[in-house]
């Protein structure tokens, strides 16, 4: 039985391209405080709705409302704001440094600062993140030295990874930050393996896996979900949906499912969708998922809804594929401004203190930058030795590499 009628291929397209006027008025953004907070041991099937909504805490007036509010004390909120501001200022300086030719490449977090900064606050010492290139907030919030970060970006002699990696591919075991891979998604299943190891050893440490919306299409994402689901690994499975994967809008990776969080339903996992530009909501949901993992209740999938306000990297110009106005029109606002407004509303902060803090942080960042540049930049100053190129391929250098190093003259 053939119908005689013709098939056609559906190729999803974003609603707007350069030249169009973006209009998000039909995007459903649930009211802050309106989404329920289940117990962490509730049956995943019973919280299916949480994958199709957006958990939000901060309302338009800057108030923290609803069942997800209150996960952090005031002091921590002030610290959180500082982390986000630091990350943004750091990014701006490094973007500029790249333009000045001090390094080859850079990737910023503009608009996405809340996610990694707030998430880190839900972890404990010894837990391990398996991040992508857009979660440096994990390091900032963990107190990793800015100078060291910059040395990595400059690939100079102070770079802990000896100039071997692309800028922003940090690594710090001590700060629970797994070495970044340039290959998308590969670390997702590794995070699950790390968490399985913790469970095998009957430890109490948990892991956090990170992935972008676009990268969920990769195989490792599936492997991660399969293994996490089967062995109930103590891991938080994070998806940062910033709407874009370089020039490709999220609809290409998401396809026919309403949300990325929904992917978890195929695996019986609790799947939560959260406002990624709401520091309080991110923290509350992260804490919930971390508690679940810690209590041996298994993995949680979390989708952070956010927007990549900048280009994909310094090699990218987004105006070639999306309207310039899209970022401003995006309905979830700016994470720093929103937390700032909340703190002002609470009487804990003011415009003045903000300006003053901005200046302070800028000073700190500039000082760190000076320190880093005093060591060197990609093309100048003290840089890792070519000898270093041959180290760490193996624990012990095998004869053929020794010969090659010699041949290279180092």
């Amino acid at each position: 039985m053939t119908t005689g009628s013709k098939l056609s291929l559906h190729v999803p397209e974003p609603d707007w391209r350069p030249g169009d006027t973006p209009d998000f008025s039909n995007v459903q953004v649930p009211k802050a405080g309106s989404v329920r907070r289940p117990e962490v041991d509730e049956d995943p099937e019973a919280m299916r709705d949480l994958a199709y909504t957006i958990i939000r805490v901060l309302d338009r007036k800057g108030r923290a409302v609803g069942p997800w509010a209150g996960s952090l004390p005031d002091e921590a909120l002030l610290t959180g704001l500082r982390h986000m501001m630091t990350l943004r200022i750091y990014d701006a300086r490094m973007m500029m440094a790249q333009r000045q030719g001090k390094t080859s490449f850079y990737m910023q977090h503009l608009g996405e600062e809340a996610i990694s900064c707030a998430f880190q606050m839900s972890l404990a010492k010894g837990d391990m993140n398996f991040p992508t290139y857009r979660q440096a907030g994990l390091l900032v919030a963990a107190g990793y030295p800015l100078t060291k970060m910059m040395c990595q970006v400059y690939s100079n002699d102070g770079d802990p990874v000896r100039g071997r990696q692309l800028p922003v591919f940090y690594s710090s075991k001590e700060h629970g930050f797994f070495s970044i891979s340039g290959n998308l998604a590969t670390q997702y299943i590794q995070a699950v393996g790390w968490a399985m190891a913790s469970a095998i050893r009957q430890d109490d440490k948990i892991a956090a896996a990170w992935i972008g919306d676009g990268s969920t299409a990769e195989s490792d994402f599936h492997a991660g979900l399969v293994f996490a689901s089967t062995y109930r690994a103590p891991v938080v499975l994070n998806i940062v949906n910033n709407q874009w994967a370089i020039s490709t809008f999220q609809g290409i990776a998401r396809g026919g499912s309403g949300t990325f969080a929904a992917r978890g339903h195929g695996f019986g996992l609790p799947a939560l969708r959260v406002d990624g530009n709401d520091y309080l909501a991110v923290h509350a949901v992260a804490q919930w998922a971390v508690e679940r993992a810690r209590r041996n209740l298994g993995p949680t999938l979390v989708e952070y809804v956010t927007y990549r306000a900048g280009g994909h990297s310094t090699s990218d110009d987004p105006s070639a594929y999306r309207p310039k106005e899209e970022s401003a029109a995006w309905p979830l606002g700016d994470p720093i401004l929103r937390l700032k407004a909340h703190l002002i509303e609470k009487g804990l902060w003011s415009e003045d203190r903000h300006t003053q803090t901005e200046a302070e942080i800028t000073e700190t960042v500039v000082a760190a930058q000076k320190e880093a540049e005093a060591i060197g930049t990609l093309h100048d100053g003290r840089r890792p030795s070519p000898r270093d190129m041959f180290e760490d391929v193996y624990a012990t250098m095998p004869p053929h590499l020794r010969r090659q190093r010699q041949e290279a003259g180092f």
Binding site: F105, G182, L184, E218, T248, L378, P386, M389, F390, A408
Partner: protein
């Protein structure tokens, strides 16, 4: 005759073939509206519509796997992997499926697919944007592996690859996209537009797969090179003044052994260069073949100049890249060996 960059040449080949044959489809990450991160598919979606040129999810496995299904259905997919470094997730589909389909079905199902990917280093891309995995393809029976070194070759070989009834791996040396690169990174880049080798014929024609080209005639030593290294070899010959015969292999598999062996038998000496790591690189096969087939003509050990057996580092890029100095030294050592 006009000049084109290699990017334009690739785009032109795709344009010509899509125009000629409605079964040619082009897809990959960011290749649709945007036209590819290297712009090799610019304008194609606009011209041929969203079902002939489109963006895919970030799944190299999916891109190649879907391409195999399409090819089996009689289409001619020409897919892009964003970097050769990201071909690994697709490797199973390439090796176990694309390369084996004709064989295992005794010709009933075939896979006329091209898998394009930018390869090689020299752009400060570090270990995950610089790899040269050609040997991982040439070891696989059922695949053809092609790598151009000029815009004309890029266009002509890509046209031939799309026409080919079997799967072809098409490696594009990204350091050559905008201009030839002689290995002197400290010097300004010359655009293809202003370079003799950037000329392309007005009439675009396919260049047969499996034919090497002698880029420079010479008598003292034969240099086997491909991709970026062809230009480095030319520079090294010039700078050392050694009368080297430089062969641009263009196709790694099937190899043009006639041209290779003929030259080495005449010069009696051979240097092989590539950017990929040395051990088990494609140069090993070349050396093994040449020593076997030209044994009684060889007057010196065959030397290989290649990437070191380390990942491609970021800061130390120019110590890793086998530049004209290293190549020149190998040439000298080889011609001086007695």
């Amino acid at each position: 005759m006009a000049n084109m960059t290699m990017i334009e040449a690739v785009q032109n080949a795709l344009d010509i073939m899509m125009d000629r044959d409605p079964s040619v489809v082009v897809f990959g990450e960011d290749v649709g509206y945007f036209g590819g991160v290297f712009r090799c598919t610019a304008g194609l979606q606009k011209k041929y519509g969203r079902t002939r040129c489109f963006d895919t999810p970030i799944s190299e496995l999916g891109i190649v796997g879907a391409g195999i299904g399409m090819a089996a259905a009689g289409m001619k997919p020409c897919v892009e992997l964003q970097f050769a470094d990201y071909m690994y997730p697709a490797y199973d589909q390439i090796v176990s499926e694309a390369a084996r389909l004709r064989y295992r079905s005794a010709g009933e199902f075939t896979c006329p697919m091209v898998v394009r990917m930018p390869t090689g280093g020299g752009i400060f891309g570090a270990q995950t944007h610089s790899q040269s995995p050609e040997a991982l393809f040439t070891h696989v029976t059922g695949l053809k592996t092609v790598i151009p070194s000029t815009p004309e070759d890029a266009r002509g070989l890509l046209m031939a690859a799309i026409d080919d009834p079997d799967p072809v791996i098409f490696l594009e040396p990204k350091r050559l996209y905008n201009g030839p690169f002689d290995g002197h990174h400290e010097r300004p880049v010359v655009s293809w537009k202003k370079h003799d080798l950037g000329a392309v014929a007005d009439d675009a024609t396919a260049i047969p797969i499996g034919k090497a080209r002698i880029m420079r005639l010479g008598n003292e030593v034969t240099v086997l090179a491909y991709g970026t290294m062809v230009h480095v070899a030319l520079t090294a010959a010039e700078e050392t003044g050694i009368d080297a015969e430089i062969i641009d292999l263009r196709t790694l598999l099937p190899l043009d052994t006639e041209t290779v062996f003929g030259s080495v038998r005449r010069t009696g000496r051979c240097v092989i260069i590539h950017e990929a790591t040395l051990t088990c690189g494609y140069g090993a096969e070349l050396a093994a073949l040449v020593q076997e087939q030209c044994f009684y003509h060889l007057e010196a050990p065959i030397q290989r100049v290649a990437g070191w057996d380390t990942p491609y580092p970021h800061a130390q890029e120019w110590f890793y890249f086998p530049g004209p100095k290293r190549v020149g030294e190998a040439l000298r050592a080889t011609v001086e060996a007695i």
